[in-house]
């Protein structure tokens, strides 16, 4: 087993991996950009190495600096988390050359599945159903336009190196194609350092169902069942759950076997996720392989009892997979809500800034994976994920109730977050019925506004603000409030005290 691992990531996922290292008796090394010096992952890690300025290309995406950090600290392996260099075959190859273990798939498998276009070709050959669309990246705009026409609008632009919704655009007509391609390429370039994009038929209102798979270095493969991730905004998941309300045992088994086959034909090892779209007729299509630990991995952990990060590290260290497909089962129901620094009432605009107060949820069946703390200044440079809230309960309905309650317990003050939006989704009757598709948010929450606070909540808030300010005043003896007070009827009250501190009646 490794003695020391570098975690080439930040935020909640870096914290999650550092915890796994601690539990396994492995020393952890955090890397950080200048914007993250005070970050939670730096606080938690055993060692920390600065790797450059805030923009990701100069730090978390900078391979030389990360390899230097490995050398400098004498670490044996790198866990890339998700995003950044997690699915970059060049990075995996460089580590292989340097005799540093990459905790993820081998570079050839990464290269294959990371190239969404090549992956589509391979899967089609292996008899896995794929979405109709391009099987190569076009040379110029004319070719894209011709392909789009052949596929038939609406089409979806996807980053060839993609994932996580970055670079994706739906295009409904030819006149929108050029600007959408431009934007998609820019976004892909910025997210993955590769601007190639391709087009696929846009399947309307499908479910997004993915399978978690583990493969060891000798080709033993098991799947750990599905996650349904249909609740998305901007093609990015915000709520995930397992089991999927849409799968029958028979369909689950067929999809699970297809997922294993996908990894097999890719020569894949370590943890991976095979994403499928499930259309209204419950036909499934291969979407892509996410060759990394997924954001939503905890729902699988809670229902299968398998710790995916521990497994990733053990597989990378050369251990044989001792799990047998027939012995694996799903128990109960788990849901994850992603808490993002975004304003859900305003087009999900990012909302960077200082977190003034944080209250983390607790309780039976509640898991909170966070990367923030009270006083943390959320930087503008990275993905806006702040934390994930995951619950487990015996049934889906019980899990929904537990999630709603845990969301009520989660308080983040100072920036806008998706929390109020998530509460309304979890409480929505269609969500409760399990009628979840990728169009769910557009269909039911297109013009969402936060509910007006009740009169009672409002007066309690005013009272709380007044009490808060009165304490501040008494602590600091603020003159402006005192001056104002001269005109206030409450001056007539004479002596009054707050806590044990100052006395303002002396004027």
């Amino acid at each position: 087993m490794f003695k020391k691992i570098v975690i080439a990531n930040r935020g909640e996922i870096a914290c999650r991996i550092i915890r796994a290292c601690r539990e396994m008796g492995i020393a952890s090394v955090a890397v950080y950009s200048e914007a993250d010096r005070a970050g939670l992952h730096v606080q938690m890690a055993d060692e920390a190495v600065g790797i450059g300025p805030p923009p990701a290309v100069e730090s978390y995406l900078h391979m030389d600096r990360i390899i230097e950090a490995v050398r400098e600290t004498g670490a044996e392996a790198v866990h890339p988390g998700y995003g950044f260099l997690a699915e970059n075959p060049e990075f995996a190859r460089r580590l292989e050359k340097e005799k540093i273990v990459f905790i993820g798939p081998n570079s050839r498998a990464l290269e294959l599945v990371g190239d969404k276009v090549r992956a589509r070709q391979t899967m089609e050959k292996a008899g896995i159903p794929i979405i109709p669309g391009m099987k190569r990246v076009a040379d110029d705009f004319a070719e894209y336009a011709a392909e789009a026409k052949a596929i038939g609008y609406p089409v979806m632009i996807k980053a060839s190196a993609g994932g996580g919704g970055k670079g994706m655009r739906i295009v409904c007509s030819e006149e929108d194609l050029r600007p959408a391609l431009e934007a998609g390429r820019r976004e892909a370039k910025s997210a993955f350092g590769d601007e190639s994009v391709y087009l696929e038929k846009f399947i309307e209102n499908p479910r997004h169902v993915e399978f978690q798979v583990l493969a060891d270095n000798d080709g033993r493969i098991v799947h750990l069942f599905e996650r349904e991730c249909s609740i998305q905004r901007r093609h990015q998941k915000i709520i995930e759950e397992t089991p999927s309300p849409a799968l029958t045992p028979e369909l689950r088994q067929r999809m699970g076997e297809a997922a294993k086959r996908v990894l097999e034909v890719s020569g894949y090892n370590n943890a991976g996720t095979v994403e499928f779209l499930l259309d209204r007729e419950k036909r499934f299509f291969f979407l892509e392989v996410n060759a990394r630990l997924q954001v939503e991995h905890p729902v699988t952990e809670l229902t299968t009892g398998i710790d995916l990060v521990h497994r990733q590290i053990r597989i990378a260290a050369g251990e044989k997979l001792d799990l047998k497909q027939e012995e694996l089962s799903q128990r109960g129901h788990a849901i994850e809500c992603r808490i993002y620094a975004e304003d859900p009432a305003n087009g999900f605009l990012p909302s960077a800034g200082k977190i003034l107060f944080l209250q983390e949820p607790k309780g039976p069946g509640v898991r909170y994976d966070g990367g923030i703390f009270s006083g943390w200044d959320v930087p503008i440079y990275y993905d806006p994920i702040l934390a994930k809230l995951i619950v487990w309960a015996e049934t889906r309905e019980a899990a929904c109730r537990r999630m709603r309650s845990a969301l009520d317990d989660t308080v983040i003050l100072g920036i806008k977050t998706t929390i109020p939006f998530l509460k309304d989704i979890i409480s929505h009757p269609r969500f409760r019925e399990g009628a979840t598709t990728t169009g769910f948010i557009k269909d039911h929450f297109g013009d969402w506004k936060e509910k007006e606070a009740s009169g009672e909540t409002e007066i309690l808030s005013l009272a709380s603000a007044a009490f808060f300010d009165s304490r501040k005043t008494s602590e600091a003896g603020v003159l402006s409030v005192r001056a104002k007070e001269q005109y206030s009827p409450w001056r007539m009250l004479g002596k009054w005290r707050i806590g044990e501190k100052s006395d303002l009646s002396g004027e």
Partner: protein, 168 residues
Amino acid sequence: MEFEYLVKAESRRVSLEKKGEHWIFRAGDQTLEADVRIISGNAFSLIVGGTSHLVGIADHKDTIYVSLDGTTLTLKRPGAEEKRFEKGEEGSKEGITVVKAPMPGKVVKINVAENDAVRKNQTLAIVEAMKMENEIKSPMDGVIKKIHSSAGDLVDSEKSLIEIEPKT
């Protein structure tokens, strides 16, 4: 002691007074008697008529964030509003509309030049934050009078990006 807050731009006054172990709050014609305990600098426990409320509270400049019973409210101390008017003045010259950055981020591209005629909803600029591009659209038909930013600039929320003179 009396305080004034803006709740969604509406002015509300609230007074508080200690009465024995309790606090009396008055806002308009509403009176509230609460048993208040300080949990931390950012949390109070309120018991009002036997109902228990946990309050999370924090402030930044003139904004106060209050969370209770699963709802978060934003209140402003009135000073904030006055300052905003002052700040807005320099941009809001007669007949000119100032397009501001909606959030802190980096200007990726300015799609227009001074003296360009623009249509309503035309993309004027692209600002990126947290790896997402956000298109800044023109609020009206008009002519670009002045551009305050260029590609690569880091901008704060509310920073003036572009001035537009509406088409008459």
